[in-house]
Symmetry: D2
Amino acid sequence: MTLKTARFFLRTLQTRNASNVSFIGLGQMGTRMANNLVKKGQQIKVFDIVPEALSSVSGAQQCSSAEEAARDADIVVTMLPTGDIVKETLLAEKGILKGMPKKALLIDCSTIEPKMAQELSRLSTDSGVRFIDAPVSGGVTGAEAATLTFMVGGADADLAEARPVLEKMGARIFKCGDIGAGQIAKLCNNLILGITMIGTCEAMNLGVKLGLDPKLLTDIVNVSTGRSWSSDTYNPVPGILPNVPSSNGYAGGFSVPLIAKDLGLAEAAALSCGTPLMLGAMAHQLYRALILNGYGDKDFSVVYEFLKGKK
Amino acid sequence: MTLKTARFFLRTLQTRNASNVSFIGLGQMGTRMANNLVKKGQQIKVFDIVPEALSSVSGAQQCSSAEEAARDADIVVTMLPTGDIVKETLLAEKGILKGMPKKALLIDCSTIEPKMAQELSRLSTDSGVRFIDAPVSGGVTGAEAATLTFMVGGADADLAEARPVLEKMGARIFKCGDIGAGQIAKLCNNLILGITMIGTCEAMNLGVKLGLDPKLLTDIVNVSTGRSWSSDTYNPVPGILPNVPSSNGYAGGFSVPLIAKDLGLAEAAALSCGTPLMLGAMAHQLYRALILNGYGDKDFSVVYEFLKGKK
Amino acid sequence: MTLKTARFFLRTLQTRNASNVSFIGLGQMGTRMANNLVKKGQQIKVFDIVPEALSSVSGAQQCSSAEEAARDADIVVTMLPTGDIVKETLLAEKGILKGMPKKALLIDCSTIEPKMAQELSRLSTDSGVRFIDAPVSGGVTGAEAATLTFMVGGADADLAEARPVLEKMGARIFKCGDIGAGQIAKLCNNLILGITMIGTCEAMNLGVKLGLDPKLLTDIVNVSTGRSWSSDTYNPVPGILPNVPSSNGYAGGFSVPLIAKDLGLAEAAALSCGTPLMLGAMAHQLYRALILNGYGDKDFSVVYEFLKGKK
Amino acid sequence: MTLKTARFFLRTLQTRNASNVSFIGLGQMGTRMANNLVKKGQQIKVFDIVPEALSSVSGAQQCSSAEEAARDADIVVTMLPTGDIVKETLLAEKGILKGMPKKALLIDCSTIEPKMAQELSRLSTDSGVRFIDAPVSGGVTGAEAATLTFMVGGADADLAEARPVLEKMGARIFKCGDIGAGQIAKLCNNLILGITMIGTCEAMNLGVKLGLDPKLLTDIVNVSTGRSWSSDTYNPVPGILPNVPSSNGYAGGFSVPLIAKDLGLAEAAALSCGTPLMLGAMAHQLYRALILNGYGDKDFSVVYEFLKGKK
């Protein structure tokens, strides 16, 4: 039996065994991800600190605590707002690690500091539980359509076991390195995103103020060197693309505080290795200034509206 | 005869008539563009202020002044470094407007201030010459492969006449609006480019310093929200893509002073309409700081090396 | 007679001769400056494009055009918003140069581009008129109290002649160099000012949000390395100093559009000599973003309020 | 006995009692501070992890560990590079808290995160030791001349006890608030400093490139709105002031990594309360880019040389 065949069998086996999956954290992203698990035939238990959220995943078994959800689980998936909240959810009196069986696998899909991922991994190991970090990109749309990209840090065997679960929620899985490497990749991607979106907003706004048709300018940029996801998939000018936040009053989507959070994490990571982020730092501050000036509940492409101005 | 038919005939007629084409400005871009005209069967006269440059277009008729090159031309194409140089080349004693026949068409492919394009148009009109601005994107590679994108400002009829010539040098032509609109579109595109490249450099550098494989990080970014031309076509990390400046010691390509120039033009345009360019201004200053610190002859993706540091 | 004695006599002579002084431009600054001339015994003619402004200088002879005001003048002082407006006021049909006698002296106190100062000097010389640039610092308060600082570019003899007039409006006169040098000095000073004010706002806001008493923090900064005019004379936090805009709802003072204008001029000057202004560019964009978001009629120290946020 | 009299007696008493003072951390600052204690008649024990440093304070009793230095001390002063190092020096096997008597007072003069100061206070309290944070401003010059400013966070009684010791090393003492408040004040001051210095460098460089005499420009700025400690006391242009780093090849002084460290701490503090630092973030990144490009051992005013450029 070759190594490759062995892996295939192992994987098949693991796929079969993962009968008990729990999902903790039913926000904008988590609800959609959990629903995809159910739709694709995976029975799950769910828990969220907000009782109303529990009913958002039809077909799931609702639990009254993280501990209860984690009990008897082969795999627990967490999708929570911050590293501190994940840590608390692991360690609390009715927390995940209280309930989770030895050798079970914890998949943390939250976006958190790489160093916190390493700390969570140590805490899990101390409780006999395996851990991988698997943050996602693709946003609410990707979560809904099960086309998320997972960026994974951890052991190969653990990823192999996680794979069948991740594949029900996403389209691509990248193994990035050791524990925390998934987070690093996520932060690097979002760092580019946060900057490129502002750059696109600045240029679209400039063009429009100087008389260009924004649709035409978009067409030009999208076949030129200025092309990016921010211009061709998530254009910040209202009316260019049909199903993006900018065409819907900048509602929904990826909120300003969330991109600000990710840029803050990127900056902390950059600080740890003495790496300058010239535009990243500036972008971070700009998003934070937006939060303080009335744009805190909008999609991050609302930078366009801020630059355009109120008068 | 409908207007559409009339246009068709007019265009056919113009195509046939444009037997006399001159090309002025044989730098990195101009030489390649002029050579493509010759390759595709267009007889041309050429002029450049540097005598050695004249022989770089084999098959072209070499002239000793702009005036000589422009004499009897139906169409004169200019590809020069700055608006002031175009203006001087138009107005000089042996300049273009001295030689150019009435009603001939001047196509300025240089990247210059939108307001300067309008001034050049007025000067041309005063001499009985028609004018369009048609700056390009696509860089040296696009010039070589005749896949440039032209962004055109001016009258429809003039563009119709220019089209057969432009199509020999590029793959796409966008009519952007009145005189200067081509320049505006170009600046908006390059504004995004200058910002996105720095953002990509910052993130790639951060990832590498934190232990990620840059090839893997590129693969992730290219299918995620951080994707852009700067990551998938012109990656700034040495060794990721084969035929880009970063894999060749940052030689050739789009030099730091050129992107700095374009961002300066974008800022001047933004100033004229009170539009803030938060990251654009920062990117501009950063490229200018690079010029002063030893990177002035490198491709603009060399920002990666600056951020990585010397120690 | 030594050179020094000769100069003294020349100056005395000029002081006596400057009986005919005209003042053009009666805005916030000009009105106060012109009033000081009158108060200190200088008879003047005045003109402003806004008829109501003419009556703001009691004791002055009101004129119906710049030409009329300039006629028979030994010295004409201009205090206007932009270089283009000064130029227009010089060249218009009823403009200054139409009325001004040969060899008379034009003192431009406006803040304009150094290059424009040089152009205005040429235009004046072409009309037989002498020119110096003499922009001021000190703001409305300094104009009111006749404690302005004049930064002068031009010939020594011309400054000697201007001096008795300038001394009636200000406390200090610096000879900076040739024509335009006064403007350069002014822009350099205001570049520091625009940056330092934002830095002070950021730090005061940070301290207050973290629980420090702003008065105490000001006391500390003012005896430490963070001390500056922005902290000890024009503190941006309401209630720290009695007679500054921040303690009066950010009304009056040095408006956001004016500092934005000066930073724009500084940037243009920097561009002309390839000098990077990292924080200057950023400060410029921030003030421009403030204009577009409702702070356009406030003193520039209102950055504090923007950073503090609305929520 | 009034409260004021009581305080006087208490203070006199404390002054008399503080016979046992130890000083830990003999770097650029610490050596000078400790020497001033000795010069003013205070017997002290000293320790530094670098054995050679011990002999830099003549008249002090050299110890072989922090524990030994702290033993029997009434007051221990620490002056160390980072919060983590202070923490380690407190908790190590031969650390301060192992040796320090109950109720003795620990004065931490290091510049560290406000939150770390709070943590150190808790750790001290757990060992029965009192704690205040007392970071300084004034730099090496102020340390040498015993003119430092102390910014203190902690209990009034503890400061009263510390005062006689602090007064031997500095000229001013500000009580800023609870534990950590001294650090907050210090960071706010240095945030302004880091920004203002860059602004001053940008403007001086611009003026010089445009032909102004830097001495004249300094004179103008120093009586105008651009005035600051960075222009009048620590001018970044070589040759303007006699005894500053810029006039000595940017050697000595306040190194680029130290201001970068302080701006990083300010940013972390700003992040904790959602406060934007637009220019602060940019300044931080710029200093970090300087470290990576060969300026890591220079005084922070070397920004002037970076902006001036090498060519």
